[in-house]
Symmetry: D4
Subunit: 224 residues, 8 copies
């Protein structure tokens, strides 16, 4: 549906199984409000806004009192009740360090909103490999693993070598100097010596949560 | 098991659900033979060798007559009977052009060896979008889609917008000049404006087939 | 004509068919005023200033009351009456998303100032290909198409495959991470698998509008 | 039409005004023959094969005696009579040096096959600017200019400053060291300080000739 | 001489013919004062501080009233009388545009302080080649030429083709998008198709003025 | 000592503790012979030639029968008796895969020639982390560790997290696509999340062996 | 030990010989306080926080009065008494210029905290090589050398050619234009023509001090 | 003068003081012969062909017996008598290593052909700084210095700090891995911490010799 600045894709859910999501960065609060209203009118629920700053979230909450829940660490706002977990299994979200947590939260919350059970295990980077190894049971029980890491991004390779589940790797821009804003982790993850790793854009927690949810649901089964 | 030059990982199947695969590039024929023998002794079947040139395949076939089947377009040799398809659904392999086919065949054959039903639809690049659109039924029926494309790599974004299945995107080094040996397609796929795309290394058909197979099997179910 | 800091090219129109345009970025308001006065004295009309911030536009408008019209979304100010459309046909301006609109507006307004009929169709990116396909009539009627897109920049390839008109592709810096400030879209557009695409600099809406106008006018015909 | 390895796009002419062209690089001679036969059956004429080596051309000529004409400098083979020039005006093809000529010939011949009058002016690089300036009459009479240059690629900027016609710039991989296989010329042309320049891929003479032909023909006029 | 944070090189003039120069960026005002005092004590005159902001210059001037002259466009402060021009001839400083002037002023003033006659000709970029050609007499009379340009940096090639003097090329970070902060101009200048061009770092006006001065003086002649 | 093409550094041992080493790549066999003779005359022993192909080694061995020992996997030839191990402890050389072995051998042999005890543990990459963990005793006993790995180069980080010894990381050009000839492993190792890692050039086994030897010897102790 | 956001690695000292260090950048003051308390409870001393701004240090000092010492130039805070120097010899820290000093101080102080004697020699870059040469005695006496330099980073090569000690090279982001934020110095140091150089990340003073300390201590000796 | 493929610039000498030079790479022997004949007819002497392989030189010498002299190390052929040295002083050509000699010879011979006295000092790289320092007298006597170096390219900075003459730096592609075909040396030389360095393209010995010759001659003096 066209609303001046935007051509809101109301048939996305029919086509792709997932309703339209609003990418908040670079949009003004009134623009976001406008799109939310179109989606509300079309009966979509829940409605999800990503990359939303606290300032914008506060302003936005004035228009949708009670209904809008904001998660500051993930930078995500949700309007409407969360979907019950209805996927095949659990999505395990790992991070290499504490600075990777905001990206991991974006991934984890996205997956939860899309109807997945999520288990978070943070700060288990390869510099202290035993911290990861003691979570072997979580790894064994996961249907999908999301590995979030910056710097050298080695977490994805190591965990893929320990698991039967597909690993969605998220390079982060955590680091400095020759990390080149996430390029180092991105290249590492693309060159993983372990099989079963595929990669999304730097800092793209949303994309990883989304992809993990697709994997965790049968696309052509009823109710999924 | 250690054999001079190699430390063959005989427990990989137990850990990751998929047995050791031999990467043929950069290994001599005697080295490959040696590793095959270790795997045969350990009872592994089938045994798969990737990135194997025709010359090497011919030499290798002399040591393993009748047993070794070589697929020249995919550059893969297989020893032992193929596994029956036992995954959730079908893996759809798409290419943008005809030059992308060798990489697509590596992906498709890998998936078949690992027990998946595969459907191939080649040469449906976005310059003639109608060629892709007429395969909507194949897209709707896929459990996973592998999108193989070089040059601008737009196929992944377009197909992800048409599908409920996760898309594994494989950039290829097809192109010249500012394709920079696949960099252009790689960046495109990482920046897909459609959600549900994750990416493997340039020309990594094997990795895509492997990841698609993990998605198409429940890691902790019996027989999978 | 020399005015201290600048050597204003008063013969550009005679040589290139288009009068001097003032690039506002990096120039102070007094510098811009000075150049405008030289052009006014030389009888040029309209006079166009690009990449002009709202702050500078406000200050500038004090010196040229009534005459100066400012378009904030395009960042362009115009002095004097717009030229009547006198080109061969219509220039169609497309964007992949809503964040690409400022660049598209720079292109569209530039083309209008230079005497072209312009049709705008925004937010029709390839993630929802049907949004684009329903504009096939606009595509068929265009003499030139300007395709503005960030992220993976696939819009240019898809539309070139649907059209008989030349496509001027404008990569934008919209995106994050591995978009590398527009590099991803730039490379995509240069590697378009569809023919009939040529590319201008990242975010260079002005250049695209200018080039489209040259195409839409016969350079050696009277009145063009 | 599907022929095993290829999905030949027989409706391209209807959609884009230009019939399917065969990109010869990376295809075997039998593959090229197969596609030619499909196009012949569909009644297409002329049929054009680009990036064709002399060896392949020689083999191919055995299957299509008398009909196939090969242009070694451009690396192009044509089957069937050339189209008469029916565009608006002349396409001027310039090169900076003598090493740029193969790319320029690919552009010039492509334009001729697509029905354009072409004028060639080679070896007029900016190190001897007077060589270019003495061709001002050719520049004034051109409907479109194709500027082909390697190394620093300055030809495009200079000629755009001298002309009322749109300039299609083709960076070439001519050079060494910090030319980085054409990257230097590509960046130069994208950053042209003169307006009216748009750029195709490095060494993409075909793309430039194609785009120039689109510009030189009215897409929705009869017979064009 | 050591002063805590710095090891001031008091013998540089004896070794290289040019006294120590203070690079102001990244140094505090007290640090700069300290180094100036060491140089004053050692009898050096004039003393030159480059890359000095207006704020720092103002503070610095309080300690060295009357003596310190600050040139805001060049970002240079000088303490002591300027050296009389004693070189072989004139240094001609050219810029492509008006935004390149600060870098050009850094070059021109550096050369003047080091004892050279300087002629400035600004805003003569190649998009209006006739603006440059009308300065042929200045070009013919120069002993050295400094060509300062951003964007595609073509000025260096064109002027080297018109001159018998060595050209010192200074790429500037003027531009946006694919200029990549001066990389485009840098590569252009390194790949100049005209001989007689050598290049300094992006925005390094000081280095160009210094190098031009060395060329304009006989290193082993008396008084030079 | 000057011998036409070379200025052989006979005082290197006095200055750096290690005698001159001959880098064989890009030198002809007669050139290498010439330098060996100068070193023999100066009494140096052993004399080491690196990056020497089998062909050159064969030719060279004709001039120095009995004395010259060639190690094909390391590409190193040695003239004269090896030095006895006299360092503080053991240097442990690890590789991620079998393709990294030539670089590892260059490192190991260099260290042995320079008087170090070396322990080799190959093919223990992070995709099968347990292969590495079972060598904890070797890791605990090492005075220095050399970690050689291509692709994502994660071995360096993991081993540094398990060890009290400094790790010298050697990225290799093993890999394809987005490994960019070793860039991926190089960046990974520079961005190691574990401390105690420093890095040498891609494929620079010699440099790693040399640095490890310096660490394993007290520079100012007698006999070292 | 897990404390919400972090999994503090209390066994790092046992494994690697060096206790956990807190990387301050990107952590809030309460987060840092939390981790310090865990380490205090575990009895660690001293506790070191790196990359800590003055603002954060001031806030932090309120919670740990008397105990916390902050070194503003190095950006490091230390809690608890410094360890006595107990290494083999002296670590020599060199810088090319004065702007490299903060990185050098991070390295020097890290080494001191880890129990090393450190000698600082700053501002001895290669543009005035005699400044370095007069410190030959310091070079001869060093057990390890840390060479900190930006711009062209040549200091590492020159000093390695003068010394028997291993050189840890730290490229800094000092410079502008084609220094590309430290890339130039990084590549220089990786390509050192002198042997005995290994490199850490850009601006990674901590990593260099840490690695130098490992070299200066026998990992398996008592008390080290 | 136009001869089919080339537009020979016969007025270059009048404009730039140096006659046309033939760049041999990428030209066939007949093409080179054709251009030589045009220049011979125009009375030019000497005529210089650069980047000429031994094979081509041999063929070429058959057409111009006795007259053509070929210098294999420099890859240059000369027709006609060399010009007598008539410059201001001596050009000193330095190399870092022996592998840089071919590029240095191209520079040295170019300078000699253009009428300069040249002094060669090779293999004096910074890893053995004393080899360079003992040539201080040569450095002091030079009017211009050409510094040729690959790998880290530090030679240019060091020599510029020791000299009153301008330094023309030539990065070479000597090296491997992270030298990235000369990029490392190129960046180093552009970021020289010593003033008085300007840079030509990677491996561009000709350009350096040419620029040095311009510096060593007064452009507007009689006989120069």
């Amino acid at each position: 549906m066209k609303i001046g600045y935007a051509d809101v894709d109301l048939e996305r859910e029919k086509r792709t199984g997932v309703p339209e999501v609003i990418y908040g960065e670079g949009k003004t609060v009134p623009e976001i409000e406008g799109i939310i209203k179109v989606l509300l009118d079309a009966g979509q629920s829940p409605i999800m806004v990503t990359r939303l700053s606290e300032e914008k979230a506060e302003k936005l909450s004035k228009s949708f009192t009670d209904e809008l829940k904001y998660y500051p660490e993930a930078g995500i706002a949700v309007l409407g009740a969360m979907r019950e977990p209805d996927g095949d299994g659990t999505i395990l979200v790992l991070t290499g360090g504490t600075s990777d947590i905001p990206v991991a939260e974006e991934a984890a919350l996205t997956a939860e909103i899309l109807g997945n059970r999520v288990k978070r295990v943070y700060d288990v980077g390869v510099a202290g490999i035993h911290r990861l190894l003691k979570h072997q049971a979580d790894i064994d029980e996961a249907r999908v693993i999301i590995a979030v890491a910056g710097m050298e991004g080695a977490l994805a390779s190591v965990v893929a070598g320990l698991s039967k589940a597909p690993v969605i790797a998220v390079p982060t821009s955590v680091g400095y100097g020759a990390s080149f804003h996430g390029l180092s982790a991105l290249l590492s993850m693309l060159n993983s010596c372990a099989s079963g790793v595929s990669v999304v854009n730097i800092d793209n927690g949303f994309g990883a949560g989304f992809q993990a949810s697709l994997i965790n649901h049968h696309p052509y089964k009823e109710g999924q």
